[in-house]
């Protein structure tokens, strides 16, 4: 028996599974005929245990490739294993951008749907689900095509379910038209969390894209100081010279694991200070390339190695507008307990969609990268969970690696609705993952 070692992007644990790379739907169906504990995996960018299945079968979706012709209306069908990077390389030169993009291009379309990913434009455009016309997936009961018209229940249950409704094979979605490969960006440096939150609450509606980087290490009146960047696609008229070339591969990479303590409160504080001071106090309509603006993380390949052997986790939660003080309480708890957070990203969400396990809900979301190490960290995050539940919010499963099943159920009250759909298409409970087992989502 040879099993392959796999980890999530946060590299906090190693899991062993049989890894197969099916080429077509019948190969996936064959796996269901013989195996249990099956889960699909794309490029492994979910941070925790969503694409792991210890002792089970992990199906890589990377052979499920192929990009169809892009229609005049921007509609395209792509294999679930196609990455955003591969899709953008084809679409940008033709004047099309993905309707929603994660902070990295290295995610597959299947993974993007499974996590129901959001981007800097959620407050305007919603998550990826809003732009998907139909999905093709192989469930344990057979292959199906689903859409808001055909088996809407399964269609919506798939968004945010982290692969537990079946193996996605292709996605049909509508792309966004662009005239250039530049974004016009307004930047503002804000002195504290209150300032950035009110700037976003008042001004975000004027921008298609908006995100703030928050310093969780500064205290006192500078607690939560932030750099707010907002923008829109540049039109041909906005620029002297415009082009539609596709993004380039990363030139920098991290060749080996850094020592585990490299990112500690001292170094992170120094880095944050530099980053904050390097941003302009106020700047308008600065042209930035699509990749600089949307995919800063792709500048350095294998950057997760910076966190060393012990790995790191990301805590991302959202809370409704009425609970905006929870964001303040979270930043306060983290900065006072001196848990180093290298990157904290704040943004506003628009309305939630119909998916029972979809993450975004209207209000605020804050995402924090935290190295694993301090022995108080598990308890601090458990306390954050309680803040989030009390506020009527939830944490994002694509990032999670440590939530408890009880707290998950409190955050996702439509859990039983989801499980009913899963029971229908997976009566033998063959779709599973380490995350599903941890959060009690396999079904009984």
């Amino acid at each position: 028996m040879t099993r392959t070692a796999l980890s999530g992007w946060g590299r906090t644990s190693t899991s062993y599974a049989d890894v197969l790379s099916p080429n077509n739907e019948s190969e996936i169906a064959l796996t269901f005929a013989t195996s249990r504990d099956v889960i699909a995996r794309g490029l492994g960018r979910s941070y925790g245990d969503a694409a792991l299945s210890s002792g089970g079968v992990v199906l890589s979706n990377r052979e499920l490739s192929g990009i169809g012709p892009i229609g005049a209306d921007g509609v395209v069908t792509v294999g679930a294993g196609v990455s955003l990077d591969e899709l953008l390389a084809q679409s940008i030169p033709r004047g099309w951008f993905v309707p929603v993009t994660t902070g990295t291009r290295q995610v597959t379309m299947g993974g993007a749907v499974a996590a129901d990913v959001h981007g800097k434009n959620h407050h305007v455009d919603g998550s990826i689900a809003r732009h998907v016309l139909s999905l093709r997936l192989v469930t344990p009961s057979g292959p199906v095509t689903v859409s808001p018209e055909i088996d809407a229940e399964l269609f919506w249950a798939t968004f945010g379910a982290m692969g537990l409704t079946g193996v996605l094979t292709s996605v049909t979605l509508r792309l966004t038209a662009i005239e250039t490969n530049q974004v016009l960006v307004d930047t503002d440096r804000l002195a504290n969390l209150d300032a950035v939150m009110s700037a976003m609450a008042l001004g975000d509606r004027d921008y298609r894209y908006s995100v703030a980087w928050v310093d969780c290490m500064s205290r006192g009146k500078h607690m939560g100081r932030a750099i707010l960047t907002r923008g829109a696609h540049a039109t041909k008229d906005d620029l002297d010279a415009s082009s539609l070339s596709s993004p380039k591969d990363a030139k920098l990479f991290v060749p080996f694991d850094a020592p585990s303590g490299l990112l500690n409160p001292l170094t992170v504080r120094a880095f944050n200070e530099l980053w904050f001071r390097s941003a302009p106090r106020h700047e308008e309509r600065e042209p930035q390339s699509l990749s600089t603006f949307f995919h800063p993380l792709d500048g350095v390949r294998d950057w997760n190695r910076l966190y060393g052997r012990r790995g790191f986790l990301q805590y991302q939660f959202c809370v409704p507008d009425r609970s905006s003080e929870t964001v303040v309480a979270a930043v306060d708890l983290l900065s006072s307990s001196k848990v180093a957070s290298f990157l904290a990203v704040l943004k506003r969400f628009g309305p939630a969609n119909e998916g029972p396990l979809s993450f975004p809900l209207e209000g605020w979301t804050l995402a924090l990268d935290i190295p694993v190490g301090p022995s108080k960290l598990p308890d601090i995050l458990d306390r954050l969970d309680e803040f989030v539940i009390e506020a009527g919010g939830r944490v994002y499963l694509a990032k999670d690696s440590r939530l408890s099943p009880e707290k998950f159920a409190a955050m996702y009250p439509r859990r039983s609705e989801f499980l009913a759909v899963k029971e229908r298409i997976d009566p033998e409970h063959q779709m599973s993952s380490d995350l599903a087992r941890r959060l009690d989502l396999v079904g009984k």
Binding site: T2, Y16, S54, G55
Partner: protein, 255 residues
Amino acid sequence: MENAFGQPQTLIVLGGTSDIARGLTKKLAAARTHTVVLAGRSQSLLDEASQEATTYGAATVDTVVFDANDVTDAGRVVSECFDKVDDTVDLVVVAIGLMGDQFEKEDDATLAGEVATVNFSWPVAALAETRRRLVAQGSGRILVISSVAAVRVRRSLYLYGGAKAGLDRLCQGMADSLEGTGVRLQLVRPGVVRTRMAEGLPKVPFTTDVDEAVENILKGLANGDPVIWSPPILRYVFMILRHVPRSLWRRVMDR
């Protein structure tokens, strides 16, 4: 399924009534452990320990009674524990130990043999079945409570220390055998811990209380150290003590 901090959701403890085992079970139940199976010698002590686990947050606690002198029964005991969990087993703790008075036992064939059986043969048999079940499952951890007494055996405790030494070395080999299976084995080498078992032992430096030992074990679970020392400084103390000449070792350790 255990989480990114190595906090298990399901737990089996062989020797579940020992002080260290109870301390650990409490802490794990307070964190993420919802299903616990405690195996031990006395039903009344097991009931006490399971009550405690429930109080600290475990939703389901079951018990299995066994006699660690009966090696042929070890497979049945482990099997029953796994069946009672009826889910992925995240952590199996082997916390079986018998110390007693060395001088009473060292010239008694029956009593000396018993120390070896309880501290070595029974745990080895139980580990064999545990290994089989976890490897088939493809995940899980085994935590074996060894002792610093196993690192260098001393005159006044050679029955216990020798049996633990056998278990300790065997586990190092077993840990290597698990590479690539998804299962991990971690050894714990505590110094003297203020427990019922250690009552009457002479006072030595680096003695800890149960809570401190448990904290060190939890840290080890979180960071995956193959050998967890408690207190951690003992790792370095024994680097030296391991190589002290015998005459000096006898004088220092067995005054």
